[in-house]
Amino acid sequence: MIKKIMFISLLIVSMASPVFAIDGKALLEQVDRNLSPESYESYRKLINIEPSGAKKEFTLFTVKKGVDKVASLFIAPASEKGRSTLRLGDNMWLNIPNIGKPIRITSLQSVVGGVFNNADILQLDYTAEYDVGKVDEQGKEYILYLKAKTKTVAYDKLKIWADKDKKLPTKIECLTEANMLIKTLYFKDVKDFGGGIVRPAVIETDSPLYKGYKSVIILAKVKKKNFKDEVFTLTFMSNLESLR
């Protein structure tokens, strides 16, 4: 009897082993690196689309260094031009030229309105903020179940659908601790940006909290680039234009 139980257990373990073979952390790191180099610059157009079809567009210049440093500068429209945002880990600031001094903002606020919040706009590497709970396979995709490392992260849970071959996300669901869906990001239009960077150029999002509204990010000129740490400081926020 004992031998039988041991044999069945061994069989179950051996059947399950292909799933255990997927190293969730390594897979997430690969997804992060495929989405962007660790340090880079890029341009993004952010479009908020209302149910009526009315649109509002923002153009941002973004620089990132390492896993936890991101800064963005608004270059259009005229009403937002010169505004800049900075993220150092969990710290976020907004610099409005008229106000002059950077003010602390929170990840759940949105400096642009619409479905994207500050955490989406100043996105860090997923591995910096999340642990992989488990990985499932579904046809040509992996499904990664992520849990926030700390309470300060904007979304408590993420569910990432990633293409098995390209190791790039196709869809991400952002959830609360109670599994309530906050928003869904759709990654589209995989494009070669040069320098070995091949990634989705369009991210669309919708949210059950904003029925009928949609926001879109379009990426351009994603380039590997290194910056000094001093670029990611409050004092430098008003000088981000000099990096372009």
Binding site: V216, I218, T235
Partner: protein, 433 residues
């Protein structure tokens, strides 16, 4: 002057329909990201204001004693701000002009000035020098910043307005680190006060020195600053700001003024100078709920402000001067009171203790770019207050529409109770280009 107003209004009306009609499919043309060495932009504003006058208040009597008005007063304001910069290599020149236009019972007026005009050199990514007219805007407070030693006082009624700078020379040196201290920066400032150079800053023929040290230490912004040189009493300060959670921020400022002088009135209306050390501080928080309600709360202690008794003595002086003017036409006392208003009694937040609460709800009822707010400011010494409901809409690209009403309440001889208005209604139409 009328012609200038006509051009201004024509321009505002001409661009409004053009912006409303502008709707197109989205594209991302790489040329949109090309950087030009120069930038030209600006801001136009039209702001009609209706004042409901409190004809028994001290400040009404002081302002309108020789030209009494009815219960309402209508005023039209215009603002033109032009901004330009040119950048080449490590050099940059920046200019921002401001023109205020006003049409009211007293006629039309115009005031133009450079808010900022300075040149920058950036020899290293972490080192920059600026020389010219510039706003520094130190401090972490939203409505008040007692540590903004080299700036003009902030308008707590509209803290996000652009401000005029001072002529100075400054530098920024930044250093980043690994560990609990992530960033350090140092900002020295030299601010001269001579004839025609910053002569409204303080005592003339002085070369003032100021500085700010910034630390990002244990995820907390900390600044330490000073000002010395003789144009104003020496002062030292510090501020901090920290996120407790993702949606909860706290901040504070502390300023110490050495041998601060002010001119106060005694019970008999005699003016005398008082000198002593003073401490001012602001403590505040900013909180965001899950349903996007942002609350800002600040408490301000103005150590250089006037006490309840000192303010009551000032209101008595105005009342006495007004009665004498009514009976004899003698303006001497009111002239004296006007001088004292400019010297401090008439400035905003002139007394010692204030509470500021602002609640703004982002996009209620799923109306995108619409933010209604309510601001409550109270003088905690005499419990007089102002309540300002506000509706803001920014849904049309580059346009900003704001409707606000300020309601003022307070007994006689109180801070807000003696303001010239009972209420104020204003519409602000702003266009960025």
């Amino acid at each position: 002057m009328k012609r200038r107003w006509a051009i201004f209004l024509f321009f505002m009306l001409w661009i409004l329909p053009a912006a409303a009609a502008a709707e197109e499919t989205y594209t991302f043309d790489p040329s949109e990201t090309e950087k030009k060495p120069y930038h030209i932009g600006g801001y136009l504003e039209f702001k009609p204001v209706l004042f409901g006058l409190d004809r028994d208040s001290a400040f009404y009597q002081l302002r309108f004693f020789d030209n009494p008005r009815g219960y309402n007063l209508l005023e039209a304001n215009g603002r033109i701000q032009l901004e330009g910069s040119y950048e080449k290599s490590i050099f940059r020149v920046y200019a921002k002009t401001n023109t205020d236009l006003k049409s009211s019972y007293s006629g039309e007026s115009e005031r133009s000035t450079f808010y900022e005009l300075y040149g920058s050199v950036k020899p290293l990514p972490n080192l920059k020098f600026d020389v010219g007219k510039k706003t520094m805007k130190w401090g972490k407070g939203y409505a008040w910043s007692p540590v903004a030693f080299v700036d003009r006082p902030k308008d707590s009624d509209d803290p996000e307005q652009a401000m005029e700078g001072y002529i100075l020379a400054t530098a920024d040196y930044i250093k980043s680190f690994e560990g609990p201290l992530k960033t350090f920066s140092f900002t020295p400032v030299i601010l001269p006060v001579y004839d025609h150079v910053n002569n409204d800053f303080g005592n003339n023929f002085k070369l003032n020195t100021a500085g700010r040290f910034y630390f990002l230490l244990y995820d907390t912004d900390i600044d330490v600053m000073f000002l010395t040189g003789g144009s104003r009493p020496d002062r030292y300060g510090m501020d901090f700001s920290r996120n407790i959670t993702t949606n909860f921020e706290i901040h504070g400022e502390l300023a110490y003024f050495r041998s601060f002088q002010k001119s106060v009135l005694d019970i008999n209306g005699n003016r005398h100078a008082v000198e002593g050390d003073a401490v001012s501080y602001v403590v505040g928080l900013r909180h965001l709920t899950s349903f996007d309600l942002t609350t800002i709360i600040e408490y301000y202690h103005n150590g250089t402000g006037f006490s309840v008794d000192e303010m009551e003595n000032y209101y008595s002086l105005i009342n006495r001067g007004y009665n004498i003017y009514q009976t004899s036409g003698n303006e001497a006392i009111l002239g004296n009171a006007l001088q004292m208003a400019e010297g401090g009694y008439g400035r905003a937040s002139a007394m010692a203790n204030y509470l500021y609460v602002r609640c703004s709800q982002k996009e209620p009822f799923d109306i995108l770019y619409f933010t209604p707010s309510l601001t409550w400011m109270m003088n905690t010494d005499d419990q007089s207050l102002s309540l300002t409901p506000e509706l803001l809409y920014t849904g049309i690209t580059n346009w900003e529409l704001r409707l606000r009403t300020a309601l003022i309440a307070g007994r006689r001889n109180s801070d807000f109770g003696e303001k010239q208005n009972d209420y104020r209604v204003e519409l602000r139409i702003g266009y960025y280009f």
